[in-house]
């Protein structure tokens, strides 16, 4: 992600005129009003649909609220309940963490591997790049989630194939240990989006670096570790942050594969699914708001840790010698 760089206003030349400060202020104001006109839709949205709702949801998280009766202040009750008395909450945390920890590395690893494969492809690179990207767009749809459910159902293609090679696990969708991996595989199937970003990053690495390294006798593995990974590290970092944030919020496939209820036995009760269930099915809006804030805190904490640790492994070429 690009660094924030907004040009600082240039300092006006010193003026001996006494009226100057006033005039300058007026000039600044006159120069500024078009900017606020341009920004007004965004500012209205940021205020009415982001900032105010954030404050309200923070308030609601300390209340008992069912949308019809006025909110009833309960203090930290929602938070203590979810942390100490609600096993389903922890189940949803565990499922989501498992999913993030398994799906994100698999997806990014595959994306990087295929990107490197495509980079060395002489023919059809553009074609494959587009074709591999297609699942990233289709995979978010309900239709594809339904396909996945059918493929991994009892008697579906996957259990049939595994059966024919002597592995009898039955349908994954109905198996509390395997159902979550149906969602994992659907996510991994959408590796095209990070792959496209990796490929663009790979193409920006100067071939001179590889040439010099191979002259020095560096093998393929050494070139990967010493050139590809460091040069690609900003892109790896970007993909990592993006995928983790998105994965925490997975909903549609979880909803479809679990039949909307986290079935079987809450094994696919993902965090956002449980939040939806608490807020909109069970009408515990305050509890759902508290869950949303815990999610925000978790995402913020993980992003912060990633940014902190990134200083030691993310390498920005243009910072060299600074």
């Amino acid at each position: 992600m690009s660094t924030v760089s907004t040009r600082a206003p240039s300092r006006p030349a010193p003026d001996t005129d006494r009226q100057a400060p006033k005039r300058r202020r007026r000039q600044v104001r006159e120069r500024q009003w078009p900017a606020y006109v341009f920004l007004s839709p965004w500012m209205l949205g940021a205020l009415v649909l982001t900032l105010v709702p954030m404050a309200v949801s923070l308030y609601l998280s300390f209340t008992d609220y069912n949308l019809f009766d006025p909110p009833h202040w309960v203090g930290l009750r929602n938070y203590t309940e979810m942390l100490t008395e609600d096993p389903r909450y922890w189940r949803s945390v565990g499922t989501t963490m498992l999913y993030v920890v398994v799906a994100v590395p698999l997806k990014l690893g595959l994306a990087l591997g295929v990107a490197m494969l495509l980079k060395n492809l002489n023919r059809g690179r553009a074609f494959y790049r587009s074709a591999f990207y297609a699942p990233s767009l289709l995979g978010a749809s309900m239709s594809i989630a339904l396909v996945w459910k059918a493929l991994f159902n009892d008697g579906g293609t996957v259990s049939g194939l595994l059966d024919s090679v002597g592995i009898d696990v039955g349908g994954w969708v109905g198996n509390p240990h395997l159902a979550v991996y149906v969602v994992v595989l659907l996510t991994v199937w959408q590796f095209g989006a990070p792959m496209v970003i990796f490929l663009a990053g790979l193409q920006q690495i100067s071939p001179d670096l590889y040439e010099a390294a191979s002259l020095d006798g560096a093998g393929r593995r050494r070139q990967f570790v010493s050139i590809t990974v460091p040069m690609l590290s900003p892109v790896i970092f970007f993909n990592l942050v993006l995928e983790i944030i998105n994965s925490f919020q997975v909903f549609t496939p979880a909803f479809v594969i679990s039949g909307g209820k986290g079935a079987p036995a809450d094994s696919t009760m993902f965090y956002t699914l449980y939040l939806y269930e608490r807020g909109f099915t069970a009408s515990h809006m305050g509890y759902a708001a508290a869950m949303a804030w815990m999610l925000l805190i978790a995402i913020a904490a993980i992003t912060l840790i990633l940014f902190r640790t990134s200083r030691s492994w993310v390498f920005y070429a243009d910072e060299e010698g600074r």
């Binding site: 500024q32 839709p41 649909l49 295929v114 663009a200 807020g279 949303a292 925000l296």
Partner: protein, 278 residues
């Protein structure tokens, strides 16, 4: 490894990868044409005969609402979202990329921060607001936020693109007496077209795919989108209606597939540049 293998191995690997990746899509298409008894029992991809009636059943839709109407509803929302996002995000982006104003750094940082904000934090209050405004079970909650540039991803994308444009044209337009709005409309926007097209297509596809927001805000079957209809179709029918269900699935992803074929260049480039420094 000899030379021939070195040349063919990557090609073969890419081709195998593609086949695995496309299998679910082929399965979807095949199943949508299978007769009812073959769907669950047979692992063959190819149907013994084509059951076109799956599609006629699917076209009848759900709860008396035809698929044509459902597609029309979805299209209305998607087009509204596209117009909203392109207009409002490009306006905000122009201010961030080209204009000077107080607090610009703070506001830009806030905009970038909202990229990471989970939607669930604002979900319930937004629902309450739209409920108070009497807009639940209308399309307003799905379209109105797009006119207020709430999707920071696109603002950011367009800012990155605009910063890469040469300033000279805009400056000469200014010297010729163009105001900020005129400059934005006649000089900057036309140059920003690739980023605007990317925004439009992504918005269209994401809105078309969206399920969560539609499920929360829409209740009346005649206002349903194709995704919502598909879901109630699943709830209503048993496995015997697999064929029609997947026929409806094919119909619902068809616009995305078409958009992908026509605009894949913009989509892939838009994705690629979002990860790199603009």
């Amino acid at each position: 490894m000899n030379i021939a293998m070195k040349r063919w191995l990557p090609q073969a690997a890419a081709a195998v990868c593609l086949l695995v990746l496309l299998y679910p899509l082929a399965w979807l298409l095949a199943t949508s044409l299978k007769p009812a008894d073959e769907v669950v029992t047979s692992l063959d991809l190819w149907p013994s005969h084509f059951e076109w009636s799956n599609y006629t059943t699917a076209l009848d839709g759900v709860s008396g609402i035809t698929v044509t109407q459902l597609l029309g509803n979805t299209l209305l929302i998607a087009v509204g979202a596209v117009v909203g996002n392109v207009l409002s995000c490009s306006l905000a982006a122009y201010a961030f990329a080209r204009l000077r104003f107080r607090m610009s750094k703070v506001m830009f940082a806030f905009m970038v921060a909202t990229l990471m904000l989970p939607h669930h934090v604002v979900l319930i209050p937004q629902y309450i607001i739209f409920n108070r405004l009497g807009m639940v079970d209308t399309y307003w909650p799905l379209i109105l936020p797009k006119f207020l540039a709430t999707e920071a991803f696109f603002v950011f994308l367009i800012v990155q693109f605009m910063r890469g444009l040469p300033r000279e044209l805009e400056e000469s337009a200014r010297i010729d007496g163009c105001g900020a709005f005129r400059t934005y409309w006649s000089i900057t926007l036309p140059l920003t077209r690739p980023a605007l097209i990317t925004t439009a297509i992504f918005t269209f596809i994401w809105t078309w795919n969206d399920f969560f927001t539609q499920m929360i805000y829409l209740f009346a079957p005649e206002k349903f989108t194709i995704t919502l209809a598909l879901r109630s179709f699943v709830d209503q029918s048993s496995t015997s209606a697999y064929g029609p269900m997947f026929a409806m699935s094919v119909i619902s992803v068809l616009p995305i597939v078409l958009f992908f074929f026509v605009f894949q260049r913009y989509l892939v480039q838009g994705m690629a540049t979002s990860g790199l420094k603009g």
